[in-house]
Symmetry: D2
Subunit: 363 residues, 4 copies
């Protein structure tokens, strides 16, 4: 049997449909039937050639949900829950870190391991169906599989997508104090998730700055207390609004989830003296910005923290929170449109143009 997959053959090229051989299942390997995979900003970066060392042709799709079709010697997920054919699962896209480099074993920061292998990004299509934009996904031995709790649907998870985990990581990284005021810059998938987890983590006031209106409505639905529109307000008005909401001090915590360098100086303006600013919106070259570093950082006694990628703990913890708060958190509503394997070009364009908050590939 063969597997239909959408393949990105090289940057800027039209997507192609390939037929990949069904892979042999190794001891410890699992084959999934893809239920849904996501299109995120990283896929656009991949298509534009912004990431280094990508082994094109690739099968994109790093966060996915699937059903177990076949497995060898795997009878439980990573938490020990029994795993059987037909079970709905997701998995951690970072398949491997080296475990022997300085970042892995001295710094305790495996997210900066130079040898990470990531589904949908660092594998070639020649290696097999190792991305989610395919009818089936092969999970190599050691891939960390999580069975979805019964209360969660595939749409709940994929509607959050990788942004769900990035937003979780950004909120964790902020170390926000209970009853803090939090400003989230951006209302895309990362911003929406950040707002949701900010509220669940104990913020007394979560303010989202973004556009367009329907995303702000989603933000409020997911937990934001106040939204400020980039379309309807000037920078000065937004700043005035934040100051008024914070006793004139600015926000305790600001989390940048916009990917726009221009958001950075604005973020410092919105941050109170002594506050914490998490920069999580982008990790490739989105351009430079002018900044007065001594006023922004030193005089403000600020803390600024980047959050690169996610670790497995973010995934498992985010899904636990999603399951606990499923009544309030309907990330399925973030899904803007579904695309077949033959429509991935359109999906990439829609995401690049911000036409949909979350595009989902349904093979």
């Amino acid at each position: 049997m063969t597997i239909r997959a959408a393949v990105m053959t090289e940057p800027h090229a039209a997507m192609e449909i390939w037929s990949l051989d069904d892979p042999p299942i190794e001891e410890g390997g699992v084959l999934l039937e893809t239920v849904a995979s996501e299109v995120c900003g990283t896929d656009v970066h991949l298509h534009r050639g912004h990431l280094a060392d990508v082994p094109y042709p690739i099968v994109p799709g790093h966060v996915s949900v699937g059903r177990v079709v076949e497995s060898r010697g795997v009878d439980a997920d990573i938490t020990g829950s029994p795993l059987a054919g037909g079970d709905l699962v997701t998995f951690y896209d970072v398949h491997e870190v080296c475990g022997v480099c300085w970042h892995c074993i001295v710094a305790g920061q495996p997210n900066r391991c130079a040898n990470r292998r990531v589904y949908g990004i660092t594998y070639s299509a020649d290696d097999g169906p190792l991305g989610g934009w395919a009818e089936r996904i092969y999970l190599k031995p050691g891939v960390k599989i999580l069975k979805l709790p019964e209360s969660l649907t595939a749409d709940d998870v994929i509607g959050g997508g990788c942004g769900l985990f990035t937003g979780f990581a950004a909120v964790e990284r902020s170390g926000l104090q209970m009853a803090d005021t939090v400003v989230v810059q951006g209302a895309g998938p990362v911003g929406l998730s950040t707002a949701a987890f900010s509220a669940l983590r104990g913020a007394a006031l979560t303010i989202v700055i973004g556009a367009p209106g329907d995303r702000l409505a989603l933000a409020r639905h997911l937990g934001a207390d106040v939204t400020l529109s980039l379309e309807g307000m000037e920078l000065g008005e937004r700043q005035a609004a934040v100051l008024e909401l914070t006793g004139g001090r600015g926000a305790d915590t600001v989390i940048e989830a916009s990917g726009n360098p221009a958001a950075i100086p604005e973020g410092f303006e919105l941050l109170r003296d002594g506050g914490t600013y998490v920069v999580a919106g982008h990790y490739t070259d989105a351009g430079d910005v002018e900044l007065n570093p001594h006023l922004a950082i030193n005089r403000k006694h600020a803390q600024v923290r980047g959050q690169w990628g996610t670790e497995f703990r973010h995934v498992i913890r985010a899904l636990k929170m999603l399951a606990k708060h499923r009544d309030r958190l309907s990330f399925s509503r973030v899904i803007g449109k579904r695309y077949g394997l033959g429509e991935t070009d359109a999906a990439l364009e829609d995401i690049a143009a911000l036409r949909v908050p979350k595009a989902v590939i349904v093979p």
Copy 2:
């Protein structure tokens, strides 16, 4: 009796010598005979009018050493050590914080209290001899006085000056791990102190980048393991040198003590992924710089921390370390030149022109 004092009447004006009335000693007040006071970058900022809300005319001199001349109802220093006439003391220049504002009581960051009163900066000469560039200094009730340990001379303390405490605070703020590699940007008083405390705090390798050569020699004397000259090396060479010293990764901790905005992008280049960058070199407007925030902060998974001012704990702890390590730490060698009360214009010019690392006023 009257007190001769050097008075800064307004920004850019020549310094004047005034005769101030000897102040009445309140209950809890102490009068000091000034032994030495320092000239630091802040005094240059004051002279250039860079700080807001300064009540000119002022008697500059925030960090000073003096001998107790007279006191009312004060028989011990802040640690409980007996205090008597003739004792050599220093004191914390931040006389008061309000204790009721949000930064004082909610954030636990009194250094950002808007109502701080600081010797040599926020008092007018009309309020009395409340700065160190005067024959005598009046310590109002509540000023935190520290008797110098017997092993320390006035020169040991004033040679470090406020930079001693700022450097201590910067190193504390970095949270550096034992055996880290630390890069210090700048070899002025703050940079020298930062290098000294970096070594005492357990860095395995402390690298100072600065100029000129005699300051780098001081840095090595005070604890730096390696110095890289701004004069003799291009940016690329400095970066290559740091990479070679750090197994190709960059430094675990970078501390900016230069006050130069251009140091910031260089600092990020020298920082390893996942490292910590403390920005402590300036707190007024030193100008803008171009920065790629997503590459510098997010992709690097960096932590960036400003350190505004010092708190009393920095002062008492820094002096304890100075006393313990007096054999190794001769900050008296940092003193470039001594100036009488009539020579403070020259002192300001020498500091502004970086002609001396530390200028000391001896009234």
Copy 3:
């Protein structure tokens, strides 16, 4: 005019009703008409003579809600909200810390300042109506006053009482990670508040161990996901239940809010390796317990943290959370019974006998 007050003249003595003179209102002082004051475990300790240096006779009642009757020169609360006659307020019972001792200015732990002055505890009845079990309470200059948000009633606040703030502090101190499993030992006022804030702070699972059944029902109402009864289960059964709920590992975070020394070894049994245990249930001598310190602490790689008292930030932040989540958090339901000034002996007895979770004095 005079003020009727319930006075504890000495340990073990019956409470007396005294008439205190109406105090002169100093500049910065505020007189409140008492709406409600609480009876908590500390009041029982006071009545049993367990605290040192208490200046009997005293007017107990440290956490109270009142209405502004009169004030001099006070037109705003500590956050800057306008304050007028008739406004409903509460205040931070710790009136003063010294601001010059080592714990205040070096350790940054004013809660361990030896010179704290606390309403209802460290003031004598001879000093005036400085406790809540009186018709009126005099707030001296500098007392930190908080106007209740319009959405909160006096019962919302006093139903939580000081336990509201202690529970908040215990959860903050735990540093719990989002999606952690938390075990709370105890279902009294501190335990209930701890459970509520645990849930609001992002725990995925909050388990309360306590008794009797109606308190456990309150715990579930306030946010606990699971309750285990001290009455119906043996220690081994409770441990088995916690292990089953935590994948066999034990809880990430355990918070002791029972005041029973025997809870401590049980707490360590319930804690996972590498977890955090906060001990917050008592601060006087509740007796010894046998512990294997190396197995409990070292082998477990545990963190154990005491939380002594509360700081103002806990009060203001807890009230913010209460206001935000008023729909879910009805601490008014914790109030077991109301007592007049003449019934304070009964109130003390009911609290000591655990007959009511929260006793409220309504003068």
Copy 4:
């Protein structure tokens, strides 16, 4: 060829000399000629049968120094330094953690991984020469090897032994602030290392409590400022001495390195309010002790932290510090006696009886 090894066949049995087959060198494996291996408290625990799941017969010796005899496909140590025959190396005794359990990937605490494989402890003699009490040691693929810096001798490292790394870990875990006062309980290998790293990490005052006198002399040599003898002083005297040295407050940080449960209540007495207590002296059942948990932990607002085992970062960082400060840190002086392979019974007895601070096996 065969390898002579000292084998612990079962608890309490006399040690035997066995001849083990020279192992085949796998790809990635390295064979060392043993230069020195240590005898530590863990070896005594092993001999007394205190540890669970030990696959007797075993070749003890977890920390060792050796010379490279042969290797396959290994041309660099874990830091990338070239590795050749004859090079002097040490290695991290924890050969493997599973990388998929909850402690490994969610908690980020691989030291609590249930599947750790450790040289000298979790391998049977039937698995080969996988402990240091043998003429040669086989390092399986993946063992983390560190070439000794040229400035360090085998005695420098083995004189510290595993205590060197445990002491480093304990100091790191304490998070001590620069200029803190530190009390170290115990003057065995862990205590001595703790004292040394406490001083290097920036303590202003390091006090060691222990016995006998020659160990206290070693402690002073390695960095302790003050030593208090268990033999010459009663508990009350020791406490009085610590209070006098700390302005009446007690120590900021106490680190238990004695392994004696009775040290725990004493440690709390010596700790200041708000201080940090690290328990690192033992990890098996050393017995119970009576403790008043609410007074010791809650009223004191204390932090208590266990430190179980070491991670690789402790090893690499400790050796970096040892290399930097080799002039001051002569751990070779801690070596009390050397024993041949036929004398390991005597070595175990001498360690158990505290007759030597560090016993070294020289095969």
